[in-house]
């Protein structure tokens, strides 16, 4: 034997799990909702998604290059951000606005804070809020399902179930809500597809069910106590998209089990408060972003208890 050996400290084995494999699983989990949005809103939905994904990936590439950091587009996290951003937009959105959203998400929210793992709020949600504040009309122009809007002229505008519920004009139809036959953001409407994606993420152990269960459970219990229809509140708006895909974002949610419980319950309370008592019909994005900001503090309070800490000896004769 005369070859040189690698010498390193243990372990000498790796699980093979990589960031890009995790992100690929998230993308796969998003596909049912993506397909649903294309079926319900037509081919324009796909175009919006392509625009935001392209915008996110290009922004990531260029900003990393300008900041003289290594190229990270292959970790696929920018693709996930792009899809999630498109899911938070109405299908009729101006494509330039969609592209601007992608730039805001990646450059301002993600890369300026140091890139993957360093952003303190969810990039897609922060970008959505930037767009809602900058282009309020475009961000609240909802198309009717199955009208196949392609150009702006085709749009038949209508109100979302949640805004109808605020003024008391929504007549409940759980079937339509469950399968997404309703106006709303592209990715949030089809509950069935989102739940399917969530189950995939759970099976692949990409997420733990802690945050979604605590978030959705809190909304269920609170709306029930306050005399509203809990099933309507779970199926409408962006709750399922938010609870399954946005609140579980690794970077902006707590690391520990206890922290995740606090985070999920906090998101639930804020969402119900905004929906029922706030000026806005929907509050998922704001609730998650607010809880994102609290994560470092939640983390300080929820450090894990080491095995054997505070234990007592036995067997003293």
């Amino acid at each position: 034997m005369n070859s040189k050996l690698y010498v390193s400290s243990s372990p000498h084995l790796h699980s093979g799990i990589t960031i890009s494999k995790i992100m690929l699983d998230v993308i796969i989990a998003l596909i049912p909702a993506l397909v649903a949005s294309v079926i319900i809103f037509g081919i324009r939905a796909l175009i919006v998604i392509l625009v935001t994904v392209l915008s996110c990936v290009t922004s990531e590439y260029i900003s990393r290059k300008l900041m003289k950091r290594d190229n990270t587009i292959y970790d696929l996290s920018a693709v996930v951000t792009g899809i999630l951003l498109a899911f938070n937009l109405p299908v009729s959105i101006n494509l330039a606005i969609a592209a601007f959203g992608g730039i805001a998400a990646i450059v301002v929210v993600k890369q300026m804070f140091g890139g993957i793992g360093q952003n303190f709020v969810n990039p897609a949600l922060a970008a959505r809020i930037i767009l809602v504040a900058s282009f309020p009309t475009a961000m609240s122009t909802w198309s009717k399902p199955f009208t196949n809007t392609f150009s702006k002229a085709d749009i038949i505008t209508t109100a979302t179930p949640l805004s109808k519920a605020v003024v008391g004009t929504y007549d409940k139809n759980y079937f339509d809500l469950f399968f997404g036959i309703r106006p709303g953001c592209m990715g949030e409407i089809c509950a069935a597809a989102l739940i399917l994606g969530g189950i995939y993420l759970l099976i692949r152990k990409i997420i733990t069910p802690t945050i979604p269960i605590c978030y959705i459970g809190t909304v269920f219990i609170l709306t029930l106590i306050l005399g509203k229809d809990p099933i309507f509140h779970i199926l409408s708006g962006g709750l399922l998209l938010g609870a399954i895909f946005m609140a579980t974002d690794y970077t902006t949610s707590p690391l520990t089990f206890k922290g995740k419980v606090i985070f999920g319950i906090g998101c639930g309370i804020l969402t119900v408060l905004i929906r029922l008592y706030g000026a806005l019909p929907e509050g998922v994005s704001f609730s998650i972003i607010l809880m994102n900001i609290l994560v470092p503090h939640i983390e300080k309070l929820t450090i894990t208890k080491p095995f054997g800490k505070g234990g007592k000896s036995i067997g003293k004769a």
């Binding site: 034997m1 070859s3 050996l5 690698y6 010498v7 390193s8 400290s9 243990s10 372990p11 000498h12 084995l13 790796h14 699980s15 799990i17 990589t18 960031i19 494999k21 995790i22 990270t72 970790d75 996290s77 140091g114 890139g115 993957i116 793992g117 360093q118 733990t208 069910p209 802690t210 269960i213 690794y250 970077t251 690391l255 520990t256 089990f257 450090i303 894990t304 208890k305 080491p306 095995f307 054997g308 800490k309 505070g310 234990g311 007592k312 000896s313 036995i314 067997g315 003293k316 004769a317």
Partner: protein, 448 residues
């Protein structure tokens, strides 16, 4: 999963925290151990255990027989070292241990006769004191890998009541099958060893803990237990790394938790490796001290992976030659398993008392993924059997924040490596924690 650790399981094996699923790679499990003939030269280091190194009691030119003491120490945590061949001491010089320590090594040229020392005779065993003396004289140290002198472990002060003897046959490291072979080939020695220790230390219950990926060993042990009336139980552990780590094993087998900074005997347990207990029983029978060891030779660069019984001090290169040599160019040679083993600089180092495997890995297996930024997925925290937060410890090691390191109970890390194994960003987490432990030790704030 959800609520893990909040529901306490009440059936065997008891629930343990964290851990990771590792590949088994135990292709050598079913093959009989092959005895390797004595090499021309053995190199016996004066540090074969955890504790104080021994001092050579022989000098160059002396002739020794198999079983003669060649190094000993008057320190408590130490164990005598015996010659594994008959022959002549050719030199005594410094050698660098795999962990970097520099100690004396005794080089013995074998005369090829393998003559036993005249001092060898079966020991007299009547009391607990006898047993402790015997354990020391046999040179036995923990054969599972840690190498803690057995006589120290058995020397329990009378105010501590020990009610459970746990035999560690978990063997949770990938590749290694030497304990599995010990369970299969030395079954009766294992059982008689357990009975002896139980009787001498007045222990009520013995538990043999085996991971459930060793059905053959489990069957052999269970059959042997069934033939006698002693209070010995077999616990099938889940195949999940690190089930064989002492504190994890105690929890899984007896549902007891060793408090931080305490020892198993503080909660009424003694844990012994299965190969150690089998050896002890053999020594009581024939009086031959610890001079040979069953070792798993495996890995992608080995031509004929198998278990080999080799004399202590045999150079690794000789053992690999005995196993058909290298199949491809080795790129990493490990003493021990891939999770906690030590990477060697070359293959000339001799095997030690506590060596349980030699692995030679090819280029493909030797390379680890490149490090990327932490994505805060929390997998390191989920996988930590000790309930620590590796990613936070790592960032505090990088910023040298001693106060925070202490708050995160850095010293409680047992360096099993689950965090580094699972990290999707390929971060060297346990490696950073080792630095953190050293930082705390250097600043004298390592006590919990």
């Amino acid at each position: 999963m959800f609520l893990t650790g909040y529901f306490k399981s009440s059936s065997l094996p008891f629930r343990t925290r964290g851990g990771v699923k590792v590949p088994h790679e135990k292709s050598t499990a079913l093959e009989k151990t092959v005895v390797m003939p004595a090499p021309k030269q053995v190199v016996i280091t004066t540090l074969q255990h955890i504790g104080a190194p021994c001092v050579p009691v022989v000098k160059t030119g002396d002739s020794v027989k198999v079983g003669d003491i060649i190094a000993d120490s008057d320190k408590f945590i130490s164990a005598p070292i015996h010659s594994s061949v008959s022959g002549t001491i050719s030199k005594i010089s410094k050698i660098i241990m795999p962990d970097g320590a520099k100690v004396d090594a005794i080089y013995i040229e074998s005369d090829g006769l393998g003559e036993l020392s005249t001092k060898i005779k079966p020991p007299k065993l009547e009391t607990k004191e006898n047993l402790i003396k015997i354990a020391r004289e046999s040179g036995l140290v923990g054969l599972g890998g840690a190498g803690f002198p057995t006589h120290v472990k058995l020397n329990v002060s009378d105010d501590k009541k020990i009610d459970t003897l746990i035999i560690n046959a978990a063997e949770c490291e990938p590749y290694i099958t030497s304990d599995n072979r010990a369970a299969i080939e030395d079954t009766s020695d294992v059982i008689s060893g357990i009975i002896t220790v139980k009787k001498m230390l007045k222990i009520d219950t013995a538990i043999i803990a085996v991971e459930d990926n060793k059905p053959h060993a489990i069957k052999m042990l269970q059959d042997a237990i069934n033939t006698q009336k002693e209070n010995i139980n077999l616990v099938k552990l889940k195949s999940r790394y690190p089930q064989g780590a002492e504190k994890v094993l105690i929890k899984a087998a007896s549902n007891r938790v060793v408090p931080i900074g305490k020892l198993p005997l503080d909660i009424g347990c003694i844990v012994m490796n299965i190969a150690s207990i089998a050896f002890l029983s053999k020594y009581i029978r024939n009086g031959i001290p610890l001079i040979e060891k069953r070792i798993t030779i495996a890995g992608s660069a080995i031509k004929k992976p198998q278990n080999v019984t080799a004399l202590i001090g045999t150079p690794i290169s000789e053992i690999i030659k005995f196993c058909g040599g290298y199949k491809t160019e080795p790129k990493k040679i490990l003493m021990g398993g891939p999770m906690m083993g030590i990477a060697l600089l070359d293959d000339t180092f001799p095997i030690l008392k506590n060596t349980n495997a030699i692995l030679a890995l090819d280029e493909n297996d030797a390379i680890l993924p490149e490090t990327q930024d932490c994505i805060r997925c929390g997998k390191c925290i989920e996988s930590c059997p000790m309930g620590l937060m590796p990613t936070l410890i790592e960032s505090n090691v990088n910023s040298k924040d001693l106060k925070e390191l202490q708050k995160l109970d850095t010293m409680n890390c047992m360096e099993c490596g689950c965090c580094s194994f699972i990290c999707p960003s390929g971060r060297p987490l346990v490696q950073a924690i080792r630095l953190g432990k050293k930082l705390l030790k250097d600043n004298n704030i390592s006590k919990p």
